[in-house]
Amino acid sequence: MKVLTIALNTFKEAIRDRILYLILFISIFFIVFSKVLSMMTVGDELKVIKDVGLASISLFGVFMAILIGTNLVYKEIDKRTIYTLLSKPIHRYEFLLGKFLGLNITLLVMIIIMSIVFFGLILLHNSKFEAKFLIAILLIYIELAIITAISILFSSFTTPILSSVFTFSLFLIGHFSKNFKFFIMKTKAPIGKLLIKILYYILPNLEKFNIKTEVVHNLPIKSDFVIYSLVYGIFYALAILFLSALIFHKRDFI
């Protein structure tokens, strides 16, 4: 109950951020712009719309997640609103959970708005609604939840700018972590091999949430892959949150 109260307040605060709307506006611009792009290309126009649309939702969603994730926890500490909050009978982890939930509600609303524009465009193009796009967007949303958790982790001990840089770096690395397998094969020294292996398992494997190519090009999507990705994503986000709570639990609010 208290977690939900904090979540709703976080949502209220998040949707006041003008930069969030700027990002939303740009993302919608790109989604709509894909229509113009599609008219200039030869070949399947619909594919361009789908491709650019999904990529926009994913990329600008990440920007939003990093923006609000790194700002809203930090702000609470920086502006010292956390003093009165934590003096109430709540646990510190409840505060973090509430923040996380509130940020995810915000992102959900943003994703829904972007998706409506995206689907609207597809329908305008005389194409029918396909459920597999919903699955692709759901996976994007789970990825955003991970990004949010990582932003919260960083902002529980550093400034928004540094947290943004760290989180965005992890986002990039997370999409290349497949290539780690290649590095593991190439590395000769056993210690090096082990280190890279550990990194591979610790770092988020964000390609698990990317089925854009499959969806756009009508390739088959395995349902167990989707389920595995969902479970992996939820547990990864929870693990990161748990880590943040550990850091939060013992820190001084000065």
Binding site: K2, I6, R80, T81, Y83, T84, S87, P89, D252, F253
Partner: protein, 304 residues
């Protein structure tokens, strides 16, 4: 059982690029009796806020023990009994006064049903009923202080901890908040508040603790700390020459024909009155000064 009991509290901060330990609290012990108003007095930087943050569990002590109604201060059940106003409070400025109190009411577990009545009562108590739908960003400094106090009282706490509740208020505001504090005591609540203003503490406190440089240098019931004993008497006279008064006491100032004297010996008072009357001079005022909190305070600060 004491409402608040602090034993041997130590806290240091690491500061600087190359971290150096700086001791802020050096073994604070104090106890606040249930139903009392406790004034926590100390100069700027003495460690009042640090003590209070430790009580609230916002920072963790290096050593020491804090009990709230016999329970460990980090216990949720202990926190349920506390209301807290931070120093220079910052709040969510996008909320209205009503929404703000409603948010904290929900976090404090209080019964949903009578939240609305409770909020309106509190807004009334701190004199903000007319602004219940105003966003906090439009509040003045003193209004924020008031809404902060309302926030501290939202859960009907048994122990109210206020960090400088009277700062930023005009004289009328100070009086109103002092009255609120007195009223809370009459309802059986315990109040712990910090201040560096002696008059506020002298006016309403039952118990006083003086902290200087991280140590409690004096603690007890107000009437035990300050005595009724007259230290000296200040007399203002005119119509006589300054040098004629040398025998009675020391001259503090002499301006515009008026002379202010400090007289230490009680028997000299009658003498000076007789003398002035005989010289056809005038006595403007005669004020006996007792031992006040200020004397304890200034004496202690000087000794440091």
């Amino acid at each position: 059982m004491n409402a608040l009991e602090i034993r041997e509290l130590y806290k240091s901060f690491k500061t600087g690029f190359i971290p150096r330990k700086k001791e802020i609290l050096k073994g604070i012990s104090l106890s606040v009796k249930k139903g009392n108003i406790y004034g926590y007095l100390g100069p700027n930087g003495a460690g009042k806020t640090t003590t209070i943050k430790t009580i609230l569990g916002l920072i963790f002590p290096d050593k020491g023990e804090i009990k709230i109604f016999g329970k460990n201060h980090l216990d949720i059940k202990a926190k349920q009994k506390i209301g807290f106003l931070p120093e220079n409070p910052y709040f969510y400025d996008y909320l209205t006064a009503y929404e703000f109190l409603n948010f904290y009411a929900r976090l404090s577990n209080s019964n949903r049903k009578d939240n609305s009545k409770k909020i309106n009562d509190l807004l009334n108590l701190v004199g903000l009923s007319a602004h219940s739908n105003l966003q906090l960003r439009k509040f003045s400094r003193g209004m924020l202080q008031r809404i902060g106090i309302a926030q501290a009282l939202i859960s009907d706490p048994e122990l109210v901890i206020l960090d400088e509740p009277l700062s930023g208020l005009d004289p009328i505001g100070r009086k109103e908040i002092r009255d609120v504090i007195l009223r809370l005591r009459n309802e059986g609540k315990t109040i712990f508040f910090s201040s560096h203003i002696l008059q506020d503490i002298e006016m309403i406190c039952d118990q006083v603790g003086i902290i200087i440089n991280g140590k409690i240098i004096s603690e007890g019931r107000l009437e035990d700390l300050i005595s009724e004993e007259i230290l000296y008497t200040e007399v203002t006279v005119s119509g006589v020459a300054e040098k004629e008064l040398r025998n009675f006491g020391e001259t503090v100032i002499s301006k515009g024909g008026k002379i202010l004297l400090k007289i230490y010996k009680q028997e000299k008072i009658d003498d000076i009155i007789a003398f002035i009357v005989s010289k056809k001079g005038k006595i403007h005022s005669l004020i006996p000064r007792t031992y006040t909190l200020e004397d304890i305070f200034l004496g202690a600060v000087k000794r440091k």
